[in-house]
Amino acid sequence: MAPDRAFWIFATLLSHWRRHPLNFATLVIGLAVATALWSGVQALNQQARTSYDRAAQVFGDAGAASIVSAKGTSVAQEHYVALRRAGWKVSPVIEGSVRIGGVSYRLVGVEPLTVPKGSAVAGLATGGDLEAFLKAPGQTLVATETLRELGAAGGSRPVTEGKQALPPLVVTEAVAPGILVMDIGAAQVILGKPQQLTRLIGGQGEMPDEASLVAIGGDALKLEQPEERGDLARLTDSFHLNLTAFGLLAFIVGLFIVHASIGLAFEQRLGTLRTMRAVGVPLRLLMLVLVGEVVLLALLAGAIGMVCGYVIAAALLPDVAASLSGLYGAHVGGHLALQGRWWASGLGMASAGALAASAVSLLKVYRLPILAVAKPLAWREAQHAQLRRQGVLAAMCLVIGAIAFLWGRGLVAGFVVIAGVLLGAALLLPLLLAVVLRLGERRASGALAQWFWADTRLQLSGLSLALMALLLALAANVGVGTMVEGFRKTFTGWLDERLNSELYFDAAGAQEGGEIAEWLGRDPRVTAVLPVWKAETRIGGWPVDVYGTRDHATYRDHFTLLSHTADAWDRVRDGEGALISEQLARRMDIGLGSPLALPTADGVWELPVVGLYPDYGNPKGQVRVNVDHLVRHWADARRTSYSVRVAPSDAGALMTAMQSHFDGKIARIVDQASLKQISTQIFERTFAVTGALNTLTLIVSGIALFASLLTLSDLRLAQLAPVWALGVTRRKLMDLEIGKLLVLAAITAVLAVPLGLVLAWCLVAIVNVQAFGWRLPFHVFPTQWGLIVALALATAFLASIVPVVRLGRTAPQDLLKVFANER
């Protein structure tokens, strides 16, 4: 019987929506949009991580160690054979770079039959193309982007500058951009390194231990741990964290819509709810059914949102949309778990969000007296009370934010600061608007003008939620835009400075390195050959790379320093000072002038810190000293890396010349342009994504504004009818309606700019530093602000159009009816 009762209560509650489809639509749209943006961001994060992994996996499984030559040269093929014979499931990889049409590409040769599961080409073994990959002429696997860049069609065979034709191109989403993957035999021929391997890779737990390695390869081989390689994911972690925060913000903005439309629905149903209680619906059951209704709507709208989230994610990454299917379980292996988790977390967020957004309304119903006798306060008093409450709440949020800022530690404190500031500012907004409007009312002369200001103030309570959402969206736009632009500017600038040599190469060994350097020194085109030798140590248990470089204008004039002593470069040259990375400085809590104790092969080398430099994204600490002093303290330093200064126009020719002259003595060589390209390509994608998300958030707040106006428009009729009856034309009223919204939106937008800057500053100076140990410089981009204000006005204008047109279309007798219905 109780289930029966619940059913009829539920059916009656639902019947409300049938009679108020617009209200229903705004509710569902709000929830769906909130969920869509959240789950879309989640999907994008996942997708991006997958592509970083993809890039890492081509060089070897990102999570696993690999075997490399202990001397930094290549691995002999016989060692591979010996390891296989000993039962270790390792797989050979050769890497090198080739130039095609003046552009460098990273060439990776793999052995598909032994390659570990989960690596880029592992899919081949399960797909049917294995034969085509192996049999002459073979295949070159490339990403869509690479194909576009090569200007080649699938199936064609581009020719390298070394006059070698690649195997026919085949597009696969499993390969990262800028990389060519082929069978190892073909790669060895094209790279001119027969019988040579760069590394041996293996699945987790399939790698030999040190002992077996020594037993087979003597001291020729060593295990390289994954964190020793440059890890793209680490650099992007910060970005994804911010993206997540941004998705959360979009979600909250969406919840504002939900809050407004649920509030309206509950308000409209108060009479029905009272009647239900009066005819004997128990309060507990009623509450239960109401919560059930909210959850059901959340699941429905959430599911729509998840689908939209998928669409958004797919639209934002059109070139990888196909591989997105991996997120939804189309791929093999562990992806099924991900699918369930993604859905569950999305729907969970939707339900939790909807319940949070309807908490106030639910509480109101819980406290609702059956007998309505309490006289409602006049709207002015009610508004004052509400504004006072919000003011107190805003102050509380700001105080919590301030406390977290002053005394908080760690990442969570950073987010508390952001949340406190954003919520506080949003809650404060109606108060500020009310003050501005009252000033306007005081200044206004003429009855109509006075009515305009007073009436705008009357509407404030109904619109304030939407305006708060608009404020948050605009602030997020300014904040995230500032951060992204700042990041882009800093990162590219930093890359420019850091990578200002034209060529970089790793020799197969120290001996070969010296040989090549000498040869280069005789070449009149080359202005400098600069060693970048390296030793490894640990400071306070943290792995630190120590680089040794020569004193040269390349560094003196270009190497970015955050702070330094006046004679920093002289001190470094003389071996009396070290430059350390920002991460190391923050981690060790040391600064300029502090003594740095470097554990070397023969005791501790103590020298002062003379400069700090940015080292964005590096998970390891870094120290730079003079190369002569480096080798003095580390006899075993790796002496194979060099950078070469040469006129940019000669770089390509020199690179080809080096390759043909030294052949196998060069372990890898890459030019500046392609190094930068590889580094920035992956970020460009994320920048595009963030830009689109920014726009979407703005659209959401536009919808919020639109929804509030639409739901209020019935009410508006009652307020406008008397003015119309007194002889103001509908045309004039329409103008005033639009004008009013533009005024409100303009004030909101102007307030959003400083708020957005605060948000950006928090992201850049608190969250990033706490999370990753490096700080982005804070740049401002005033042109962005103008755009934001313009966008806000456009949004407000669009949102006001429909209700205004509705007003214009209302027939006089309907306006009159308003009077008849007046109680």
């Binding site: 019987m1 029966d4 009762r5 019947s15 009679r19 005819v279 004997g280 619906v281 128990p282 059956i370």
Partner: protein, 238 residues
């Protein structure tokens, strides 16, 4: 009402057995910022099954308050209200809700229909949640109340008198033990009010429930079995 009807209903001799409704020494005051306002100062009342009673009194005398207490919509400060041998006063919400749902039909002055339900849906609502929906009885009620042709309409598409009849239908659909009505014809013109009243009395006679009605019209009051007047917080009258 015909005499035959009356004797027929009085056949059970209400005085002899326990009355349907017994209100004893009920007191109620409202808390206001200026201090409590005593409204009911010891009200005593009994009503037999099948009996109808008109509650008269000046505006603000506490008629609605008393009706709300009897209907279990509000609780008294002291005193006791028994309906059908079940205590109405001092009960938790769930108990009072069950009482309202299953034994009491309430006709409100403002009708209180559910705007999103049709005429048929409104009439059936209480019966459905009380688990005693009876399609034949529902059909008969709509027929008698002249609502059969309007069954698919929504409240906003009805006139005041039609809405009134819907709310009477809803209250009678559960075959209540007690029907209470607060100025049910207050919003209607005299002719419509009379018509609705006649219909209601007819149907009440068929269900044999007790009927308690607040009214300002002595003319309407005279159509009921008894009349009492609330003044200075106590009842006086026939």
């Amino acid at each position: 009402m015909t005499l035959i009807d009356r004797t027929h209903r009085a056949g059970g001799s209400p005085q002899a057995s326990a009355p349907l409704l017994r209100v004893s020494d009920v007191r109620k005051s409202y808390a206001t910022p200026q201090g409590p306002i005593p409204v009911l100062k010891g009200v005593d009342l009994t009503l037999a099954a099948g009996e109808s009673l008109a509650l008269l009194g000046e505006s603000g005398s506490g008629k609605s308050t008393l009706l709300h207490l009897i209907g279990g919509l509000d609780d008294a400060d002291s005193g006791e209200i028994m309906l059908d041998g079940v205590r109405v006063t001092g009960q938790p919400d769930a108990e009072r809700a069950a009482l309202r749902r299953e034994r009491i039909g309430i006709v409100f002055q403002q009708f209180n229909l559910v705007p999103s339900l049709t005429v048929a849906g409104n009439i059936a609502f209480q019966a459905r949640i009380a688990g005693r929906f009876d399609a034949a009885w529902q059909e008969e009620l709509m027929e008698r109340l002249g609502l059969a042709a309007l069954r698919h309409r929504y409240p906003e598409q009805l006139s005041g008198g039609q809405q009134q009849r819907v709310s009477i239908g809803r209250a009678l659909a559960i075959r209540p033990r007690l029907l209470i009505a607060d100025e049910p014809t207050g919003n209607l013109d005299e002719a419509t009010g009379d018509e609705v009243m006649g219909l209601a009395l007819d149907l009440i006679a068929r269900t044999g429930c007790g009927f308690l009605m607040v009214t300002h019209s002595t003319r309407l009051a005279r159509r009921l079995d008894r009349q009492v007047t609330l003044a200075s917080g106590v009842l006086a009258g026939a």
